[in-house]
Symmetry: C2
Subunit: 409 residues, 2 copies
């Protein structure tokens, strides 16, 4: 059961001028499933992206990077679920390109103006014929207020569709930022197994948009883990359509830069947390906040060691304050000169450990009270510097095993 | 259910001249449980050890290192289960030392001649009074042919006791090597969550014994993973009693060095594999063999990425040849310049992937046939060098979650 996560109310998802979305059923994995999304973008839209660092990156990721690099003006995105087109070699690249070519024919574009995305099972050939056959229906469905349906279309093992919206108010003008994401398993940063598409109508230079994307991803999708597996297909795309009268936002000297950046980050944090809340088998949402480190990297390293430990995650599933497992994970995170006598650990507002052992004030019933809640904050102070980092994760339940053992059946 | 693992036949466990073992019930976690082991060593025994690299190393680990360093001639080991005496601060150190002092009184030794070991729940005070009260019974039980009972005494969540024995034949003379181990969860190298005690009657210099231990641990306990968690208490002790007429084996120039080293390594490999076979919730035993790497480190890095992936492990639990998950783990292992087009993957004898995708010859039914077996070999060829490494792991089942969610109840 997703933790404190409900489907987005379509009325709260602000259309982004310059973005239309169309959905169709290609029947890739299941007949009748609306599993194909097309996004059409305004003529001068700027598009930037970050992608998985997995060496076995999927064919569509390779094609996306090439098309973005070609600088031919991205005008459309095609996303299918049910098949990841990953581990598919040269044949996979051809099929990803064939998808782009078919979409380009439908939309009157060049193939290089289309970005392809796939998610689903790895190592099986992409049924490109089904996608091509369904493209006209997706194109016929294109409309600006289709974000909620789009969020549903890109789901795989997700239980709840994920979408978020913000309005950036700047005097009497302003912009909107709306995004969707999918992902639930194979979630670990750089990137998580996820697809995300976030768009704004702000007019933004490519350089400024890249800077906004980097900042927002580091605050959001690169702060989550479900199972520690980094996918072959992760992609996060940020679109600025510029369908507005406003002058182009060139760089971070523009007073609109920070408000827009923060709105994009807020949308991405909401989407990233939604992925964790909907993590496979999740029954608890945990925030692991590490502070007092020498730099952000070591804080994140420790936060991730805790957040991905199966022993910690099963203890949270059981609502068991077996806090030694958290200390053990801090200890093996790989910060070799960590002075454990300075480490302090809180569970919610309860001080659990200090001076290398259990805090004198700690009572098991206080730990149990915090663990019983569906959302739990773990705070770890290292006592060796000014840096901090926060990571979000979920617990590890019977259902995680069940979902992943039966994924292909 | 442990995978192809049965309790050792006591008759096959060769007593080691110079080692006596005694067991008693201290009632640390459960009344009546035989949870305390004392080992008494001959006067001139050499003892060496390797210990966890977890920064939160347990109090007994700290005391062990100090006593080994003091070079006062180790003559006894005391091991308790039910409580790890980890994350217990200065009080924990005092209790570990109090255990040594009590054992020293019973045995007519100095406290520095005793090594203490604890395993069990973390962050709770060691009930040292119960241990001290039970020590006379353990001492009264001391005898050379007690290895099987000792293997049982040190178990925590282990289902099957773990012990192994080898005879080193050298002309008409020869030595014996016998060892025990415990460990089943919180298993990851450097070291796994495990305790292991291996002894030989060979007379070996401290330096040669260190070299033998390093070699054997790298071939065995540092090649396994159950859940990727590195414990606070891992300890592996190698004892050479020298209760024999033979001259002391000084260094690797001695013709007895290699046969003895290989026998110790064989015992440790058998014990390490037994830990994986008895991994929490294990239903499958997997060998992940990586070859064709530039060096052993990168082979091991990739083998461990595969062996600890929850997605790979749940697929094995389901006997589902979802082999893309293995390729994905190879891809995110962190070998940045890996050429995925050269990677080949076999499941048992079946070639599954090559040229960046599924092998043309691969048939799903062949994959299913291999996956249905209780023991599965995954072979990964990187095609970039001469090095190789092998890691052993188990699958990830409902019972892993169950065992760890309910550990303290």
């Amino acid at each position: 059961m997703p933790v404190n996560l409900t489907p987005p109310d379509p009325a709260t998802l602000l259309p982004v001028p310059g973005v239309e979305l169309g959905i169709a059923a290609a029947g890739i994995k299941k007949p009748g499933r609306r599993d194909l999304l097309v996004m059409r973008l305004a003529h001068d839209a700027e598009v930037v992206g970050v992608f998985t660092q997995n060496r076995f990156c999927a064919a569509p990721v390779t094609v996306c990077k090439a098309h973005l690099h070609a600088d031919s003006g991205i005008r459309a995105l095609v996303v299918n679920t049910g098949n990841a087109n990953a581990g598919t070699g040269g044949e996979g690249l051809e099929r990803a390109r064939a998808t782009c070519a078919a979409a380009a024919r439908e939309l009157g574009l060049e193939p290089e103006q289309v970005l392809p995305f796939s998610t689903g099972v790895i190592l099986e050939p992409l049924p490109v014929d089904k996608i091509v056959a369904a493209l006209p229906n997706a194109v016929a469905d294109l409309k600006p207020d289709n974000w909620a349906s789009a969020a549903e279309a890109i789901m795989t093992t997700d239980i709840v569709p994920k979408a978020a919206s913000r309005r950036v108010r700047l005097g009497e003008a302003g912009f909107v930022v709306t995004g969707i994401a999918k992902g639930s398993g194979m979630i670990h940063p750089n990137m998580a197994t996820m697809l995300s598409y976030v768009a704004t109508d702000a007019p933004v230079s490519c350089e400024a948009l890249e800077a906004i994307l980097r900042h927002a991803v580091n605050q959001s999708f690169n702060c989550i883990t479900v199972d520690g597996d980094t996918s072959t297909n992760d992609s996060c795309i940020l679109i600025a359509t510029g369908v507005t009268e406003a002058p182009v936002l060139m760089d971070d000297g523009d007073p609109r830069f920070v408000p827009l950046r923060d709105a994009v980050a807020a949308v991405m944090v909401e989407l990233a947390q939604a992925i964790v809340r909907d993590g496979e088998g999740a029954t608890k949402f945990m925030e692991v906040a590490v502070e007092g480190g020498r730099d952000e990297a070591e804080c994140k390293q420790i936060a991730y060691a805790v957040a991905r430990s199966p022993l910690v995650k099963t203890a949270f599933f059981a609502s068991d304050p077996n806090l030694g497992r958290i200390l053990a994970a801090v200890g093996y995170a790989g910060v070799d000169d960590l002075d454990v006598d300075r480490v302090r650990l809180w569970l919610g507002d309860v001080l659990v450990a200090e001076h290398g052992g259990r805090a004198a004030s700690y009572r098991e019933e206080d730990g149990r009270r915090v663990m019983a809640a569906p959302e739990i904050r773990v705070r770890i102070a290292l006592g060796r510097g000014p840096a901090a980092a926060t990571v979000w994760t979920c617990d590890f339940s019977y259902d995680y095993v069940k979902i992943n053992a039966e994924y292909r059946t």
